[in-house]
Each structure stands twice: as C-alpha cells, then as structure tokens.
C-alpha cells in the first residue's frame, strides 16, 4: 500500500504549487496586507514546517541508500528549522532578524544534498537530470532569499522567492521513477 516514489514527489509538488501561489499573492499585495489576518502570516512557515515533518517518513520508507537517506534527513531537518524559525519570528518569540538566515541555510543545504547525493551525470536519466536542475535552482534560490532578507519589501526578490517554489513544483511533477531525458537513458538505468 506504499505509494511509488514518483507519486510522493507529485504530492509534494502540489504542496509547493499552493505555497508558491500564497507567496506570489503576498508579493503582489505586500506583506502588510497579507498579514492583516494573523492566520495568513503563519501559512508559509506552517506549511514549510509540515512539509519538513512529512519528509521524515519519506526518508524512512523511500530511500534505498545511505547517502539518499542522509540527503532526505538533511532536508527534513533544515525545512523544519526554517519553518520553526519563521513561526517564531511571526509570533514575536524570536526577535533577532538573523533567524531569517535559516531559510537560505535550508535552501543551500538542500541544494548541496541534491547535487552531492546524485552521483550520475545530467543525462543519465530523467531523475538524475532533475536532481541537478533542482540542486542549482536551490542555490539560485539561496541568493534570491538572501536578497529578500536584505530588502524585504523588494517585489523582485519576493516574486523570485515565490517563483522558485513554483519552479520546484514543476520539476517535482516532471519526476518519474525511470524515464529518459531528451531521448537519453543510460543502459545502466534500463535504457537500450
């Protein structure tokens, strides 16, 4: 009854679509209007924390190697850390703006985890290609997030942050267990 790995990726992708839409709406209306209802302020950090929690069963049930397990564990920890820190900042329990750095930290660690645990080249298979794309996307996202911390009202950085989540969703939706990429599939992955 365990869902296939690609199905799990699609479920996470749906979460990222919703998160991206919320962040895009926040970028359009501005933080002040978005936070007029307190529950909306908790939405993005709450979803990030929840997705971090859901990453644990993914780590336990869907990883076939130690390095794969460590990568998923790193994502789970950093997503929960970033979500929790954002919740603390919104609530007012955390005062220092340095806690904002947990988000770029989560993205940088996740990007590194993607690139380190994918040991095959770009065109080995679709999964390998998407791992490389995701890793570099997260690195670019780290820079965008740092810009968002320096200039929190910048529509460019806020929109870029939201678009990053929507792009992550597209990449996750493209994932298949085994599939070629641009017509390439390594014989080692089951291609001819």
């Amino acid at each position: 009854m365990q869902p296939p790995a690609e199905v799990v990726h699609w479920m996470f992708a749906a979460g990222f679509v919703f998160l991206g839409l919320c962040l895009l709406a926040e970028a359009i209306v501005g933080r002040e209007i978005w936070r007029r209802r307190s529950w909306r302020a908790y939405l993005w950090p709450g979803v990030a924390f929840l997705m971090g929690i859901f990453m644990w069963p993914v780590m336990v049930f869907f990883t076939a190697s130690t390095i794969h397990m460590l990568a998923h564990g790193a994502w789970a920890q950093t997503m929960m850390l970033a979500g929790a820190a954002q919740l603390g900042l919104v609530r007012g329990k955390l005062k220092s703006r340095l806690w904002e750095l947990t988000v770029p930290l989560a993205l940088a660690v996740s990007g590194a985890a993607f690139l380190i645990h994918e040991q095959n080249g770009w065109l080995f298979s679709r999964s390998a290609f998407l791992h490389h794309v995701m890793g570099w996307t997260l690195y670019i996202g780290t820079l965008v997030t740092l810009g968002r911390i320096v200039r929190p009202r910048s529509p460019v950085f806020n929109t870029g942050f939201a678009v990053m989540f929507l792009f992550i969703a597209v990449v996750l939706f493209c994932d298949r267990n085994v599939a070629p990429i641009f017509g390439h599939l390594s014989p080692l992955a089951g291609g001819r």
């Binding site: 869902p3 699609w10 992708a13 749906a14 679509v17 839409l21 709406a25 209007i33």
Partner: protein
C-alpha cells in the same frame, strides 16, 4: 455636468486595481494550466482508463492536483485577501 463628473469618478473608483486583478487571476490561471496539461498529456488522467492502474496512480493524478491547488487557493485564500486589499485601497 456635475452629475456626469460624479458618475465618471465612481466608474474610475470601481474599476479593479492591477493588484486585485492579479490576485484574482492566480487561481484560475493555475487551474487553466492544469487543464491544458491534462489535454496535452491525457494519459496522466488515469481515471480515463481505471482498469490499467493501481490505487495510488488513480488517487494522485498530477494535472488534477494542479487544478485542485489552484481551486483551494482561489476559494480559501483569495476572498479574504481581496477584502483586505479593497479595504486598504479604500474601496467600498
């Protein structure tokens, strides 16, 4: 003359701002993207051929997930956000 000016100003005031239009369009555009995806890759809609697929592939169909995410956002998040935006912009 004055009556005409008042009518013109009222029309200007009731025209939705770009921000209102943009926020209102996000959900429908997302749902439209999901619909287009379903038309381009109909094999992703597994319910069209239910005997061929197992439970998870029937329960999780990516284009429908995109439509669902757009719908949840549109019907849950947008109404309150538009009300707050209108309030902030001083609209009736």
């Amino acid at each position: 003359m004055e009556g005409e000016l008042v009518r013109q100003r009222a029309e200007v005031r009731t025209r939705p701002s770009r921000r209102l239009t943009a926020v209102s369009a996000l959900g429908p555009l997302t749902a439209l993207a999901g619909l287009v995806w379903a038309l381009v890759q109909p094999y992703r809609i597994t319910m069209l051929d239910p005997d061929k697929y197992s439970f998870w592939y029937l329960a999780i169909q990516p284009p429908l997930l995109v439509i669902l995410a757009g719908a949840v956002f549109h019907f849950w998040i947008v109404p309150g956000l538009l009300a707050d935006l209108e309030d902030a912009e001083g609209r009736p």
